[in-house]
Symmetry: C2
Subunit: 341 residues, 2 copies
């Protein structure tokens, strides 16, 4: 058999206790089976690495099933059809799906999770379908516009503001006439969100001693919307400063995904919500999947008009997927972290 009949795959070797590490992953090489009738063969082009994958590395159900030990880890991937025994697909079609981390794989062409994209595999900005026009952009769009329901003049705080979701939320907030304050993890990111993404203000939590005082200083009118990507102490400090009828959107909690014990301070949440007639809401972009096409259309238009900007941190090489994932927790990325194969 020729070399092209084999593919590398990345398996979950062990479940992390606390911080995930390279030792939790293992590389294998496997045969690619012969393509069956109805199947398509996909070659990976870009792989999305996302903080939520950390949850799937644990045992126990989250909103999706945990990864199985000794089975491939999976995430959002942009692929190109390299062989097809299904009339719906032809060679060269670009397909997005949540797929196992393999370079090449055969998939049932009838799988409802396959999304055909109207672009060619060599498009310059193909990767935006894993970021600003993909699940992270859609997460920002639905969580902020449909759940937080911003009103002009309101004050919005975004944690993880330089990330793939946060950077889009901040720009949407400005479009809606809000004042927007970002919380980030470096002085460079403070500059990025202010000068590139147009935030009104931002601060570096790593050099801030009193989070609550920082929020108070930057939000003298209080906080109407908190779009939370990080959780933990930072979020507690924002909650100390919310206004009547505030909306707190729980999008993620990267600060505690690796935690073995959870922070205690969130114990006051029901009281804070009661005292402020406030709402705390969790969600997944997927909850709105019926409305994905219209959202992508609208976001594409804003991109075209220059109203919406994005950043990507692109890492090269299949073998670097695990490290790119681990780097998310070190905050080395600006905007969407993507691995290009």
């Amino acid at each position: 058999m020729s070399a092209t009949n084999k593919t590398r795959a990345i398996l979950l070797a062990s479940r992390p206790q606390g911080d995930a590490s390279l030792s939790n992953f293992t590389f294998t090489e496997e045969q690619i089976p012969a393509l069956k009738q109805g199947e398509i063969q996909l070659k990976a082009l870009y792989v999305s690495v996302d903080p939520y994958l950390r949850g799937r590395m644990n045992e126990g159900k989250s909103y999706i099933e945990p990864f199985e030990l000794q089975k491939p880890v999976a995430s959002g991937m942009l692929t190109v059809v390299v062989d097809s025994k299904n009339a719906k697909f032809k060679n060269g079609d670009v397909v997005f799906a949540i797929l196992p981390w393999k370079e090449i794989q055969n998939i049932d062409g009838e799988d409802i999770n396959l999304v055909s994209l109207p672009v060619s595999a060599d498009a310059k900005d193909l990767s935006i379908y894993l970021g600003v026009l993909g699940l992270t952009g859609l997460t920002a769009y639905f969580g902020f516009l449909k759940l937080a329901k911003p009103k002009s003049g309101e004050t919005v705080v975004v944690s993880g503001a330089a990330g793939a979701v946060g950077s889009v939320v901040g720009q949407l907030a400005k479009m809606m006439g809000c004042k927007v304050v970002g919380i980030v993890g470096s002085d460079q990111k403070v500059e990025l969100v202010k000068s590139h993404f147009g935030f009104d203000a931002a601060f570096n939590y790593k050099t801030t001693k009193d989070f609550s005082a920082a929020i108070k200083k930057h939000c003298p009118q209080g906080v109407d919307i908190y779009f939370d990507n990080v959780g933990g102490d930072i979020s507690d400090a924002v909650l100390d400063n919310i206004n009547k009828f505030a909306r707190i959107i729980i999008c993620g909690a990267i600060s505690i995904y690796n935690a073995t014990t959870l922070p205690l301070s969130a114990q006051r949440i029901p009281r804070i919500l009661l005292v402020n007639s406030a709402t705390m809401q969790g969600f997944l972009a997927w909850d709105f999947n019926q409305d994905f096409p219209i959202a992508v259309q609208e976001m594409s238009q804003w991109l075209k008009e220059g109203k919406l900007k994005y950043k990507e941190t692109i890492v090269n090489g299949f073998e670097n997927i695990p490290q790119a994932f681990l780097n998310l927790f070190k905050g080395t990325n600006e905007g969407k972290m993507i691995v290009k194969l």
Copy 2:
């Protein structure tokens, strides 16, 4: 001066540490000043005692200001006008307002918080304006119908189910075609909510060892709406059993109003909301005060048609107001706790 120129008043003598007690209250007698132009003289008929008053006995702002030391405690009262120097009111008018605990008092007739009621002072069921047609009934109405947005077939759990708010929520849930499970503090209340208020099921938390297992048993389809009047461990157990898109309405937290340290277990709330795309929302009936008239009209109609039932626990005598309040925390009341003067 004659005896009728004096009134008893109940003052906050000290702030409770932990459980409130009779020693936190003191009785005084004071002169009633001469009625000024524009004022009305109100004689108290019924006094509402409510769990939320415990919060006002502490220092520090909640959604309303704390009571001041050596000043009268205040709550919702039904009063009758016994003297008037304001053209808007005449003797015999029945007025609801949040007022200091005094038998007789003079009030500016222009005070925007005075609500004239279209009933006579000797009406048999006047007290319903402190309960099912008052703030507790309105709390149930707006919190359940407008925020939880129940759908037919959903499973609703109500804590404090035999209380003034909980008993109305359960009946509204049945009207909306929901399955409703009550959590109460005695076997007698289990019977009450099932046979009188029409709950599908109920259990006594005081004789239940494993709250989460009890919820699971009574809600085999999971919990879609949790209307929470109690907080603490019971609420944590309900949160363990919520469904995708669940709504958790934070109405009160009587189990922890006396607590000097807060329970730790609610620390997982953001994660639970995220994993279930669920919403947790605090509110006050007062947030909806524009819609009070229409709500009272609708609730009155349901009362007339026998669709809505209520219970009241009536205690007699001004001197018994503090003890009636304290008894709320012992759960000795069924339905609304009211003191009749």
